[in-house]
């Protein structure tokens, strides 16, 4: 197994953190090989933001950059438009259906109304990223739920653990129903 994942969205949505959490879950809690990279640059301010993760259960991941993502987790239309073309055909695209209108045909799309649900059910728009992550995990089983939860607990500010865990679980639930 060697999977390239791109998590992308708008600056401020927490897509970098989502990538780091995913990589951490794989590398620290599952003993998998994992590399996370992201794009730095002045143009990243406020514009499209992305976090790339490669996960593998084989040997050390050498070339660390994602070229053709197997999976795209995407939270803004701009990011969708920018990165959708890179996804492998038959790849998986998990998108925030509150904000993204999918268009490409030859990939599997799963919509998750993450931002909407984050506001409605958790009262906190900024945990939409965790909803997306929970959904993505549920759909791929790339890491176990416990590993993901542990990684989230390591990474979020004290006091916010509970909300974040709720968001993960909510994502998982939404994913179950969600394929379109």
């Amino acid at each position: 197994m060697r999977i390239e994942v791109r998590i992308a969205g708008f600056g401020g949505q927490g897509v970098i953190l989502a990538g780091v959490v995913l990589g951490r879950a794989a590398a620290v809690y599952e003993g998998l090989e994992a590399v996370q990279t992201q794009s730095y640059g002045p143009e990243a301010r406020g514009g499209a933001s992305r976090s790339d993760v490669i996960v593998s259960d084989e040997e050390k991941i050498m070339f660390p950059y994602v070229r053709e993502p197997d999976h795209l987790v995407v939270m803004s239309q701009e990011a969708y438009d920018k990165y959708i073309g890179d996804v492998k055909s038959d790849g998986l695209v998990v998108y925030d259906s509150t904000l993204v209108e999918p268009s490409r045909g030859d990939v599997e799309h799963v919509g998750v109304p993450a931002t909407e649900k984050a506001e409605e059910e958790l009262g906190l728009r900024i945990v939409a990223n965790m909803i997306m992550l929970g959904a993505y995990r549920e759909l791929t089983d790339i890491v176990s739920f416990d590993s993901l939860r542990n990684a989230v607990m390591d990474s979020v500010p004290p006091g916010t653990e509970e909300t974040n865990e709720k968001a993960l679980r909510l994502g998982a639930e939404l994913a179950e129903g969600g394929a379109d």
Binding site: S76, E78, L99
Partner: protein
């Protein structure tokens, strides 16, 4: 009052600076997803919004009712 919507980044400094509350936040978003301001009251043409806008995205054409 003309807002160059494609340049606006939704910081609302214009709303803050306007001495007569002629501007307010709207729910409209531009292509990049930034929320836009809108004129809601009488503009006296003082041009403070024009000058404070960090993105040079407002042009006060003339004082008007909005």
């Amino acid at each position: 009052m003309r807002i160059k919507e494609e340049f606006c980044k939704g910081c609302f400094l214009c709303v803050w600076v306007c001495p007569v509350d002629a501007l307010d936040e709207s729910d409209r978003r531009n292509e990049k997803g930034y929320r836009l301001p809108e004129q809601v009251g009488r503009c006296t043409g003082c041009r403070q919004c024009e000058m404070i806008c960090p993105d040079v995205a407002i042009e006060v054409v003339e004082a008007d009712e909005g």
